[in-house]
């Protein structure tokens, strides 16, 4: 069996250099934040967290080959030494007794979850054999790729070299896709991740469907907390009394699905009362006149009936934005696939942002600063004359062809249209949890010739895999460096291993290289070690590689403000070079060039709209088996309004089963009776009620929102799956 490319000596050499440097140089950041864990001198190695995807800087304390503590890296330009509960609990992922340890081959039927342990050679050979056979019989494009994470890039190269265009990430069609498209159409620039929000300088923060505080992105929380301490005002538009809503100066418990009406009414007030940033709009925007005419009819009174919010409040909050501009932050949200009209809602939010002049301004949304990245001199990827199967660029004209439309690929797999899909290669994605309509996903998988899963934890989907490959955790591997252009201070940061991989797990780069070798695709992997790969990527940045290893990140000067940029600078990359309040691109597609409110279906009698969100101690469905995080929250609860609970005979602490319109029932879930939610909604934290049986802490606890989402509303522009269209009713007495 081929051993890890980096020899032990090289590895330890790097570690020692990094560690020794860290040990002696400590940090130029706040010196009070670094130092020694416990009483003994330990090595502290910087790397990047992967407990979620914000990629905060982490310092790992390593003693005698074991990671004993994780803390924030003060040298990380974005997170500056702070780290959330999940990041702090990363050691429990590393040493999770349930994590995948060795390659496994399915025995028994798909879904049974019976495996045979095999060696890496056999596993990789099998992978190559299968893929070659499928390519020969059905073409390379019949292999679909479901990636996520930094290491996915290695596999992305592999898949593209293999010849399939079908790569789909849930972060687009199940998450931030609509805002990338909406803001992209308006400002010529997608928001990206981490989105460049200057919360700390905001005078007024507007959260629409963002539950920042329960949704934790470390640096955003820091900025938010700072803003709150500095007396910034807060508007929270949320059907639920979230943590943020409890801090808000105005809580608008909006009727779900009517956000566009509210946004249009706000525009009406800002324009009608002359509260928008006139100079900014004149200088930077096109289409104001059309916008002004469009919003004339959308009065607060009109919106009030639709949104179930008092017209006075709508007016008051609009005026507050006008008064505080331009340091007003309309938070673009992150997971924004709600009702199927999400691109238009994102457009409305972008337009509002432009009206108050906060795009590219302090306290608003900042501009990204490009950072040069090295590339490899690779052979051209083979053509795919059949095109993509997921509908990106075709059925969904505005969908990103880089990130793809996951649900489009599920549909294609089921229908065989435009062509058969025969294999799914899943890397770092949890398809049963992240893609709604799991009943379709299961059906699609069952019809495949080959399913391979590369993952860290044995989530339920491995039961459907033919081949399961254990990847090393983020603490045990190199990944491509992350280059963040969307921060006030752009930077490059490094994920490097702090210990050798445990069990038989392997880093993604190694797995990808091994697969490439067996598929005859070595030409696309000219680098032999991750160090070589890294060196090429960062070469044009002209940084000190040693510094990158010892500090974990290297910053560059940023130019985030619109005043510092010129039109030649490519500041607004729309076709007109101006902010497009009125979108000609949308018009050309036959869609509304200005956002319009269209009513969404309301829950039938006896049903509640299922809304969902996050808890600060968990990330999606990733962390429920983590011992420390599980102890903080072992299961979710369904939030029901007091009167709704009473109606159904439910009391706090009892369990209920949620049943959707298709008769699908959740596991029994604890009931939380509260005044803090609208009477037409039920709320669950996502990621619980997981199936499978390999995770002793996670399996079967709480209720799964995903499992209840048997219906979605697809955004026709970019394919996003609107997920807030599930209606449930609570059934007392559990099972």
């Amino acid at each position: 069996m081929k051993t890890v490319n980096l020899t032990r000596r090289q590895f330890l050499g790097t570690l020692t250099a990094a560690g020794a440097a860290t040990a002696v140089e400590a940090a130029e950041g706040d010196p009070r934040r670094t130092g020694w864990s416990g009483t003994d001198r330990v090595e502290k190695i910087p790397t990047i967290c992967e407990m979620c995807f914000w990629r905060c800087g982490v310092l790992a304390s390593v003693k005698d080959g074991a990671v004993v503590k994780l803390e924030g890296n003060p040298n990380h330009p974005l997170t500056r030494g702070r780290l959330c509960a999940r990041g702090n609990a990363g050691v429990d992922l590393l040493y999770d007794p349930d994590r995948l340890k060795y390659p496994m081959l399915r025995v028994g039927a798909r879904g049974e979850g019976r495996f045979k342990r095999i060696g890496w050679d056999e596993a990789l050979d099998l992978f190559a054999t299968k893929l070659k056979a499928i390519k020969a019989a059905h073409g390379a494009e019949s292999v679909a790729f479901f990636p996520h994470g930094l290491s996915a890039r290695f596999f992305g190269t592999l898949m593209s070299a293999f010849g399939t265009p079908n790569s789909v990430e849930p972060s687009f069609a199940q998450c931030r896709g609509p805002r990338e498209v909406g803001y992209g159409l308006t400002f010529g620039q997608a928001l990206g991740s981490p989105e460049p929000l200057d919360l700390e300088s905001s005078k007024l923060i507007v959260l629409i469907g963002s539950h920042l505080g329960e949704n934790v992105f470390t640096s955003q929380i820091t900025a938010f907390g700072t803003a709150m301490a500095n007396g910034a005002k807060l508007i929270a538009v949320d059907p639920r009394f979230s943590t943020a809503a409890a801090k808000a100066d105005w809580w608008l418990p909006i009727r779900p699905g009517t956000d566009i009406a509210l946004l249009l009414a706000w525009m009406h007030v800002l324009i009608g009362e002359g509260l928008y940033d006139r100079d900014y709009i004149t200088k930077w925007a096109n289409g104001f006149d059309q916008l002004a005419e469009h919003v004339l009819a959308f009065t607060p009174e009109w919106a009030s009936a639709i949104t179930d919010l008092p017209a006075a409040k709508i007016r008051e909050t609009a005026r507050a934005m006008g008064a505080a501009k331009p340091a007003v932050l309309i938070h673009p949200g992150r997971h924004v696939t709600w009702y199927g009209d999400d691109t238009q809602r994102a457009r409305a939010m972008a337009i509002l942002t432009a009206l108050i002049g906060s795009w590219g301004r302090a306290g608003g949304i900042l501009l990204s600063t490009p950072v040069p990245k090295g590339t490899f001199d690779l052979p051209a990827f083979p053509d795919s004359p059949k095109g993509r199967a997921d509908g990106a660029g075709s059925r969904y004209p505005l969908a990103s062809e880089e990130m793809g439309v996951t649900n489009g690929l599920v549909d294609a797999t089921l229908s065989g249209d435009p062509y058969p899909i025969k294999a799914w290669i899943i890397y770092g994605q949890n398809v049963l949890e992240s893609i709604p309509r799991p009943q379709l996903t299961r059906k699609a998988i069952e019809g495949l010739d080959f399913v391979a899963v590369v993952d860290v934890m044995p989530v339920e989907q491995i039961n459907y895999a033919d081949l399961v490959l254990p990847e090393a955790t983020y603490l045990e591997r190199y990944d491509p460096p992350t280059v963040v252009t969307t921060a006030k201070q752009p930077f490059v940061a490094l994920r490097q291993p702090v210990i050798e991989p445990l069990h038989e797990s392997k880093p993604g780069w190694w797995i990808a290289r091994q697969m490439a070798a067996r598929l005859g695709l070595e030409a696309w992997f000219p680098w032999k070690t991750p160090a070589e790969h890294l060196a090429t990527i960062v070469e044009p940045m002209a940084i000190n590689l040693r510094e990158l290893h010892t500090r974990g990140a290297v910053p560059f000067p940023g130019r985030p403000y619109i005043e510092d940029r010129t039109a030649d600078d490519g500041v607004i990359q729309t076709s007109s070079g101006k902010i497009e309040l009125y979108s000609n691109d949308l018009k050309d597609l036959g869609a509304d060039p200005l956002p319009r409110y269209t009513p969404v279906d309301q829950p039938p009698a006896g049903f509640l709209r299922l809304i969902y969100g996050r808890a600060p101690m968990h990330s999606f469905a990733r962390t429920q088996n983590n011992e420390r995080l599980h102890a903080l929250m072992s299961e979710n609860e369904v939030w029901l309004h007091t009167s709704v609970a009473a109606e159904h005979g439910l009391r706090a602490g009892e369990r209920a089963v949620l049943e959707n319109e298709d008769g699908v029932r959740s596991l029994p879930v604890l009931v939380r009776v509260t005044e803090g939610i609208r009477r037409d909604c039920a709320y669950l934290v996502h990621g619980f009620g997981q199936g499978g049986r390999w995770m002793r802490l996670a399996s079967g606890r709480g209720a799964s929102d995903t499992a209840l989402m048997t219906r979605v509303k697809v955004d026709p522009l970019m394919g996003g799956t609107g997920m807030r269209v599930t209606f449930v009713r609570p059934v007392a007495g559990g099972v």
């Binding site: 934040r33 803390e71 702070r82 429990d92 301490a229 009394f241 943590t243 600060p616 903080l632």
Partner: protein, 243 residues
């Protein structure tokens, strides 16, 4: 010598539990236990006029800590820097201190069955580092410093900006973790998280008030009796021995 204190700004805090986990991993607190606790008030009011707040608490290293007197073995002590420390080599796990703390800041560690609590990361302070919870706090809500450094952020928040203590009629022991927040928020927090009266378990009360005085009296009386006998012995000489 510094007098350490903390200010928790509830305007910033979102109750994310980063502090809980950073502290727990720094000091090997078992999963499910905590040295620093994240709470929330109930949601007060009727929809949509509602109020609620997060609240984070830990050992307050009080001016007059009742836990120090309660500890029979002297494991708990307070330094000149204000930090109340537990010398875990001396803790016998009787739990008197757990009952004594009006803020319920202490917990019994099920692994070694000794009591544990926040010590303001005293070992880290010695190395010039901030407490782990302060360093990690995602919302920049925890502030730590020398209450006697009038130029320092913490002293200013307390003495100039009105960050206040959470005390009650049952317990006014001078906590040195202060809270900043919006007035209505602080009012709600005060109403919800009132410290209780310091308690002593029955064993301690019986011992301190009854059995110890009794025992000391008995021993003293015996000693006195012996002294009288000795005196008599000297007085009467060694006559008894002769018979």
């Amino acid at each position: 010598m510094a007098r350490w204190g903390m200010v928790i700004d509830l305007r910033s805090c979102v109750g994310c539990h980063a502090c809980t986990v950073a502290c727990a991993t720094e000091w090997d607190v078992p999963a499910g236990q905590a040295r620093t606790h994240v709470h929330a008030t109930p949601v007060v009011g009727t929809f949509p006029a509602l109020q609620s707040s997060v609240f984070v608490a830990q050992c307050n290293h009080c001016d007059r800590p009742p836990c120090v007197s309660a500890c029979p073995s002297g494991a708990t002590s307070q330094g000149a820097d204000g930090i109340v420390r537990i010398d875990r080599a001396v803790c016998i796990g009787c739990g008197f201190c757990v009952d004594a703390c009006p803020y319920d800041a202490r917990y019994l560690n099920p692994k070694d069955r000794k009591v544990d609590k926040c010590d303001f990361c005293a070992a880290r302070l010695e190395r010039g580092q901030e407490p782990a919870c302060v360093a990690t706090c995602t919302a920049h809500a925890k502030h730590f410093g020398d209450l006697e450094d009038s130029q320092g952020a913490v002293a200013r928040m307390v003495y100039e900006q009105g960050a206040g203590r959470i005390e009650s009629t049952a317990a006014a022991v001078g906590p040195n973790v202060y809270y900043a927040g919006k007035p209505s928020q602080l009012e709600l927090v005060h109403a919800t998280f009132q410290p209780r009266a310091s308690r002593m378990p029955m064993a301690g009360t019986v011992w301190g008030r009854l059995l110890m005085p009794l025992m000391l009296t008995v021993v003293g009386a015996t000693f006195a009796g012996q002294a009288v006998a000795f005196f008599n012995q000297l007085r009467t000489g060694e006559q008894d021995f002769e018979d």
